[in-house]
Amino acid sequence: MSTEAGAASGYLSITPDERARMLEAIGVPSIEALFRDVPEEVRLRRPLDLPPPMGEVELADHMAALAALNTDQDSELSFLGFGMYPHYVPAAVDALISRGEFMTAYTPYQPELSQGTLQAIFEFQTSICELTGMDVANASTYDGATAAAEGVLMACAQTGRTRALVPDAVHPEIRAVLATYVSGRDVELVPVPMVNGLTDPGAVEALLDADVACVLLQHPNALGLLEAAPRIGAACESAGAHLVASVDPLSLGILAPPSAYGAQIAAGEGQPLGNPASYGGPTFGFLACRTEYLRRMPGRLAGETVDVDGRRGFVLAFQTREQHIRREKATSNICTNHALNALAGVIYLSWLGKAGITEIGRLLVSRARYLRDRLALVPGVSIPFPGAHFKEIVVRLPEPAADLQAALQQDGINPGHPLGAHYPGMDDHIAIAVTERHPRAALDRLAQALEARYA
């Protein structure tokens, strides 16, 4: 044992005295003796090369100092979006998900002790079904990208086909993850070109043949634009392909649900629902499908049942799909998912409610339109894609977007995300996201900054 007096941290609970008694009960002379099965040649005979320990007092200051090196969304007027958005996280969400009973529990394998998590998942599943119009939703995936990837794999398995159409207008993070997920599988990804910032429906129609398992449609797409979802859905249907829709959950108060345009599978990034950005994670992905897909669904599913006394209760249902039962034949390898983030999601959706989900949709689209119209008037700035949008708009600048960003950040404005790294030829394009936390004055401030710069 490293230290003779007391434990190395306040998280350890065995005193030196107790240790001695325990060793005696075990019948070994020392801690060292417990490790006798570890061959000498693989023993580490030096201390790990790690920085010295810190007590909580110093650690708190150290972590605060590190955090202070980051410019967070509230330290500047930020229009960054492109996949993650600084939506408001209600105080009640944080207060509730940090309750130890939720936060420190494992996956609800023992339902009798886990009714809280299980019922919350059931309510989460219901909320996601309500939003998407699907029949079944799982308990969460890691993020929106893996949700989409799992969705495509499901569609390939279900249809027995091997090609998936993946428009360029799908977010590059999703496309990248999908490419990795299929890299070992017999699945071919076929890109679909973009016209005017939109997936070209004609190209989709042309590419749809009897080998195509599905189209992955992001709507609103990576550029914030609304796709011709009904037409693409109809095209899928006539080709016997399935539609996997990746959607922004906050759009679904005003936008038609995936079910309405024929999707069999809906996926999405849950971050806008009560989850902070946290430099990209943890957030959660959601995945929902038509009943036909139920047994192909990866991950946890909570279901309602009764106990031996007839009392209502919830359990993990259809576990035979999962890796711990089905092993190599499982629908996916996912085990630990993003339950606490999904819990934040269902609390958020309950906070927002039926009226709120519609209201926020209206607010976001209206503000985004106001900003787009306002920026269109700035000399030198233009609107490259005329289509309808949701909460994020793309504008074209008279300079590289990265230059604008660097300049405006000096004055506390982060004007959005430069698109050049993602789309060739779009160096002067910038994606600008608007939320309920961006009042008109904030939008005007951005517009004025551009006016001043390009005057």
């Binding site: 967070d72 079944v136 990795t180």
Partner: protein, 495 residues
């Protein structure tokens, strides 16, 4: 106080109520169908619950009270490392500079996060005895997939991609291992366990050839036993050009004591939500970083956090990378917690963590060995696996019954029926954060359950008796699936 089973949040819903208030429209109002083509508009709003904040808070508070976490008591769930989740880690992750940091913030303005990620990566490398690490995988299983794809890239670059298709996995392995193999497009080949609970070297030798991608092992194994032949195993696998993959779920046994890299492993995944104390959250989020030997470094998911003097940056120019396994850079919020945890302990502290975890498990093994069957009579590592085989033969009481009866004692039961190689397995992982008093209380509870099994088996087979619900009908949940609140039915029930 008796708490009636709460209705669902949908059943509490009453039309016209709401908790959240949004800002009013502060820009010119326009008809929605002038902003959005009418065919893209929604006809009916989604049926989200309509509740006020007081109800919202009460509802989820009530749900939480029907849950059990490490904060509520002993949680010796084998293979899950349910250690205490330090509260300072939560505070650190909630700092606005971490919590509110956008992943696309320019790296110049995310130096704190990048530095933390870079340091954590290098510490994990040091702990694993390997050269480089990625924090991108979101959980252990995704770490496995990542590791397998790294192996694929490695073999492909050596021109052996087509030849190597089989992944060896001991029969005691966790279900994610074979599932990940399938995800990676490989074939799972089972390796038998030997007499002493280790890998059967004969069987291994028989299955090793140049079609092998890698051998996936946990060490200590899921039996809680250290693989004594690890050096020989590594030699054998490497001899045929295969790689050695370390499932880090059991790392809590060996931190600072023995490093996977030194054992011969080439790829290691960590579970920050196990060994490094980040909370499990009722099923995540976790975090599954992967560390590798230098030869495998070029294949790591992109971007890689790199260092250039005093500056940290995201290097996305990684032509040999396997790509991305999830969006952005992984569960950075969990990395913050794990960083704080490692920083709290330092080298000696981490070693003491493992030593104490192993001490506690052996203490339980010593005290429980007369109550149950001990499949392998050895010292265990951070967990011990017992069997209820003989108990079942004598009394009809199964491992599941023991687990259910323990619920009445206010402890979370151990893992049961895993690993699969032990009949009626009871897998106990106490972790290092428990007190001796808690361990002793658990032993007493186990002794009482066994006594009951002998004297009054129904007391055990019908348990639990005192939980908010009793045994639930799993079959019904599949035969008559109710996976969501039926639409429409719910609203207004509460009125």
């Amino acid at each position: 106080m008796p708490e009636a089973p709460p209705p669902t949040i949908f059943e509490r819903s009453v039309a016209g109520r709401r908790a959240g208030r949004l800002p009013g429209l502060d820009v010119p109002e326009a008809a929605l169908d002038s902003l959005i083509p009418p065919e893209l508009l929604r006809a009916e709003p989604p049926g989200l619950p309509e509740v006020s904040e007081p109800e919202l808070v009460r509802h989820f508070t009530a749900l939480s009270r029907r849950n059990f976490g490490v904060d509520n008591g002993f949680y010796p769930l084998g293979s899950c490392t349910m250690k205490h989740n330090p509260r300072i880690n939560e505070r650190a992750a909630a700092l606005p500079g971490f919590r509110g940091l956008h992943p696309l913030q320019r790296p110049e303005r995310a130096q704190g996060a990048l530095r933390l990620m870079h340091e954590l990566g290098s510490w994990l490398g040091e702990i694993a005895g390997l050269d480089a690490a990625t924090l991108q995988p979101a959980a252990g299983a995704q770490g496995e997939l990542t590791g397998l794809l790294l192996a694929r890239a490695y073999h492909e670059e050596r021109g052996e991609g087509a030849r190597r298709t089989r992944v060896l996995i001991p029969d005691s392995a966790h279900g994610t291992n074979p599932a990940s193999v399938t995800m990676a497009g490989y074939e799972t080949v089972k390796v038998k366990g030997g007499e002493d609970g280790g890998v059967d070297l004969e069987d291994l030798r028989a299955k090793l050839d140049e079609s092998v991608v890698c051998l996936m092992l946990t060490n200590p194994s899921t039996l809680g036993l250290f693989e004594r032949d690890i050096v020989e195993i590594a030699r054998l696998v490497h001899e045929v050009g295969g790689l050695l993959y370390y499932d880090g779920a059991n790392l809590n046994a060996v931190m600072g004591i023995s490093r996977p890299g030194d054992m011969g492993f080439d790829i290691v995944h960590f579970n920050l939500h196990k060994s490094f104390s980040t909370p499990h959250g009722g099923g995540g989020p976790g975090s599954g970083p992967v560390a590798v030997r230098a030869e495998l470094e070029p294949y790591l998911p992109r971007p890689v956090v790199a260092r250039d003097g005093d500056r940290y940056l995201l290097d996305d120019d990684r032509p040999r990378s396997i790509g991305k396994v999830r969006s952005f850079y992984g569960n950075v919020g969990m990395a913050v917690r794990a960083y704080a945890y490692i920083r709290t302990h330092g080298a000696d502290g981490l070693r003491e963590v493992s030593e104490t975890a192993v001490l506690n498990a052996n203490y339980l093994l010593a005290r429980l060995r007369t109550l149950f069957t001990v499949p392998f009579d050895r010292l265990c590592m951070h967990e011990c696996v017992l069997s209820a085989r003989d108990l079942k033969r004598r009394t009809g009481v199964r491992a599941l019954d023991v687990a259910k009866r323990l619920l009445d004692f206010g402890v979370h039961p151990p893992t049961v029926y895993f690993p699969l190689v032990v009949d009626e397995a009871i897998m106990i992982e106490p972790t290092e954060t428990e007190t001796l008093d808690t361990l002793d209380t658990f032993v007493a509870a186990m002794a009482q359950v066994v006594a009951e099994a002998e004297e009054d088996p129904e007391r055990v087979t019908q348990a639990p008796w005192t939980t908010p619900v009793r045994r639930l009908d799993d079959a019904r949940a599949v035969k008559r699936p109710v996976l969501r609140q039926p639409a429409g039915e719910a609203v207004g029930v509460g009125a």
